[in-house]
Symmetry: C2
Subunit: 464 residues, 2 copies
């Protein structure tokens, strides 16, 4: 072959061997050096290029390992058959403007998470440590329920923080709550009527409908889902948010919880799905243990997630199955691969075990409590026209108005002043049954200063 001439950049950040490798590879790919052509010996090329012989050897090894050249004992290196090799051109990524929703100056979204308080440094450190440590085990196919150590850490957390009684064997980890519901539907089968609280957590309600379940709304009183109405609905599964009803913020008292458990115990095949989506945040009194902790008849399917308390883009949710459903899971779904990468599971496991999660929860809790308090304080001057409810927990509260404005008018007046508030009617299943106009204010994504400013604006535009 002709001599290989290449313009090596000794001061480049790209190592010399890599530059040589790239030159030769490009020459092979475009056919400048043909099939079966012999490459110069490593000694000759190193002399020609004035680099060390080991540099050329490294470049040849790389070409060899990727199939561009072949080594023949005592004869040297030859260009291989490269037709079958991958040669992917780098295409420029098209510019793309995602559809943007109108941005408001103040957005009281009830689904906010303060991402500025995300523990970047801890997360990065754990991620680095784990990628350093584990090597091959980390990338081998994992346990379909989720890694045992991670499930063990979850079970310990749930026991301490939520009073949930379970062994790691009952926990199944999945990539987000939507996925967990898909998996659960495969375990339970289709033949069920599911009762939802009304107003409801719509994401779960939509999911149940998309999974072709028959769904039925059940009204709430001040203690949560009305059990006599549940009984009358003919449903055999009740989907509830007892720790903090979404969206009304009702905390289900112990009597109602017991009543609900008795409803489930009355018939075989009845279940309660307890969605404990944001129990982490309470600002007054002790947290109330999960319904699951009182369940003596293996009737509660407990759902939890780290996507809300850590970050939405971290797809880590889980369910705790009652013993009675474990057999069905193993039989019907045991073969389904886990949807969460091992790396993420291990990061979250250490995040729990090494105390980072406890600190993160206390920190965000203090942050949200501050915002909650400022919001409550700011609303005081409006007590003549509204009633506050659902406060002291979660990351939003509700305002019910008695000043003659409709919900739509309230939202539109606020929108005109660049403040976004959310109407309760969006959460109703079927026709809105609420007569009193009510809006939701979420405060997780606004600073205390922003809340003060926004509440002043709201007062101005809600007074007629």
């Amino acid at each position: 072959m002709n001599e290989l001439t290449m313009n090596l950049k000794t001061r480049s950040k790209i190592p010399l061997y890599e530059q040589i490798y790239s030159y030769i590879k490009a020459d092979i790919q475009c056919g400048r050096i043909g099939y079966r052509e012999k490459l110069p010996s490593t000694r000759a090329l190193s002399k020609h290029l004035e680099v060390s012989r080991s540099t050329v050897e490294l470049a040849y090894e790389q070409l060899l390992s990727e199939g561009y050249i072949e080594a023949e004992p005592y004869r040297g290196f030859f260009v291989a058959q490269t037709e079958e090799l991958y040669h992917l051109k780098k295409e420029r990524v098209q510019a793309f403007a995602p559809k943007q929703e109108k941005k408001y100056r103040y957005d009281f979204s009830p689904n906010g998470v303060d991402l500025r308080s995300f523990p970047y440094n801890a997360w990065r450190k754990l991620s680095k440590d784990i990628l350093m440590d584990d090597r091959t085990e980390l990338f081998r196919s994992g346990d379909s329920k989720g890694e045992y150590g991670f499930r063990n850490a979850i079970s310990s957390y749930l026991h301490q923080a939520r009073g949930v009684n379970c062994s790691p064997e009952q926990i199944i980890v999945g990539a987000g709550s939507d996925y967990i519901l898909m998996l659960l539907s495969m375990i339970l089968g289709r033949e069920h009527r599911i009762a939802f609280e009304n107003p409801a957590y719509k994401q779960a309600y939509h999911m149940a409908n998309a999974l072709s379940y028959e769904t039925v709304p059940v009204p709430l009183d001040k203690n949560g889902m009305v059990v006599s109405a549940l009984e009358a609905s003919g449903a055999d599964i009740a989907y509830v948010t007892p720790s903090h009803q979404y969206p009304t913020g009702i905390v289900m008292p112990i009597n109602r919880r017991m009543e609900l458990l008795r409803w489930a115990a009355k018939r075989d095949g009845r279940y309660i799905v307890e969605d404990d989506y944001d129990s982490e945040y309470r600002y007054k009194g002790k947290p109330i243990p999960a319904l699951q902790g009182y369940d003596a008849h293996e009737k509660v399917i407990y759902l939890g997630t780290f996507s809300r308390s850590v970050a939405p883009a971290i797809r880590l949710s889980y369910m705790v199955l009652p013993q009675t459903l474990m057999e069905a899971y193993e039989r019907k779904n045991g073969f389904v691969h886990s949807t969460v990468s091992k790396v993420d599971q291990l990061i979250m496991q250490r995040f729990l075990e090494e105390g980072y999660y406890e600190r993160h929860l206390n920190k965000t809790r203090a942050l949200y409590k501050g915002r909650h308090d400022v919001l409550l304080e700011g609303l005081k001057p409006m007590w003549d026209i509204l009633t506050v409810s659902g406060e002291h927990a979660g990351v939003h509260l509700l305002l019910t108005f008695q000043n003659g404005l409709t919900e739509t008018e309230l939202i539109q007046r606020a929108a005109k002043e660049d403040v976004r508030v959310y109407g309760l009617s969006d959460y109703w299943i079927g026709e809105t049954k609420e007569e009193k106009p009510t809006i939701l204010l979420g405060y997780a994504n606004l600073t205390e200063g922003q809340i003060e400013e926004a509440v002043e604006i709201l007062e101005r535009c809600f007074r007629r």
Copy 2:
């Protein structure tokens, strides 16, 4: 309050402020310092402990941010109401021995992936860069189809490497192929009869059954699924692996592909699911473009995955929907959150864009080709008792025996010598139709030396 006495370790790796923080936190948690008790001023404590004042200030700030103490202007720091705070004890992880399958000295698993060739350094580097770069955007809730940039990189890869015609809008990313099938079933609805190749890729077949579909096996001839039998089966969806039929290794020729496409075009609502699970590995001739590339009637749903070509624990699969199904997806499933974390999507995106994937594919291809060649060579002395098929692609091949031994006998004889081989009958739906005993040998997880050794053992035990 009493003076805070603590035994600070100046030479510890734990910073002093963190030690002070931990001491006070522990005292508050166990009640040694009670609610409303005043903490010493930062000046007094720094003097007492002989540390700088800023060290104490840092410790107090930490306690403040986690809600253990409260600051009162002009008065100092007081212990807060801490009942609601999280206090998670570190429980020891129980020792746990996962169920272990018998380990064989030589395991010819057809589902192997060589994890020693996993590009740890590149993966770690990209992971680090991404966690450095993006900050909050990285943890915000993402696009439900998957990040646009990632889908763009996939579409460019598919176009170049597989001849797939699609825009990024048609691609939906999900955490593994099982999940993709769940999502697809929600788009298509339940009312379908799905035809599977027989013998079949059982994971997808089990999934279809678990999703309550009616399934029907369709026989193969030497060109793949027999289209007249498919027509007779009454199925409206055909699940096929045309690039490399699993498990027989048949590569569907262009005529059969066209025949299959004509079958689909004949009726509204008919679809072909093309599972292109391991098209990356071919050792002879150019790769055959995907069936999707020939589809003029929007009938092919293309499935792909990075879990096989990169690592099983990386949960990254995707489907390409025909335009005709996009509307149904948006309407029925647009609201379902993505199951893949943004970090993983961005790592894989850069892995594709920066040429790492191309290099990885060529490297593993060369590696597997080496093993494939050694295995073929080693089998030559047995040509009188067996026929090889399904070679030149994928990571396994098939041996059909004519020496009078049954499949079970072949497997048992090998097992006795600590070699694991796999029977074709496991892949049959319904009763085994294969009369000739056939075993599968996967070579992705064995070195060339191990393959040579194992094949010698096999010859010894297969000769009667």
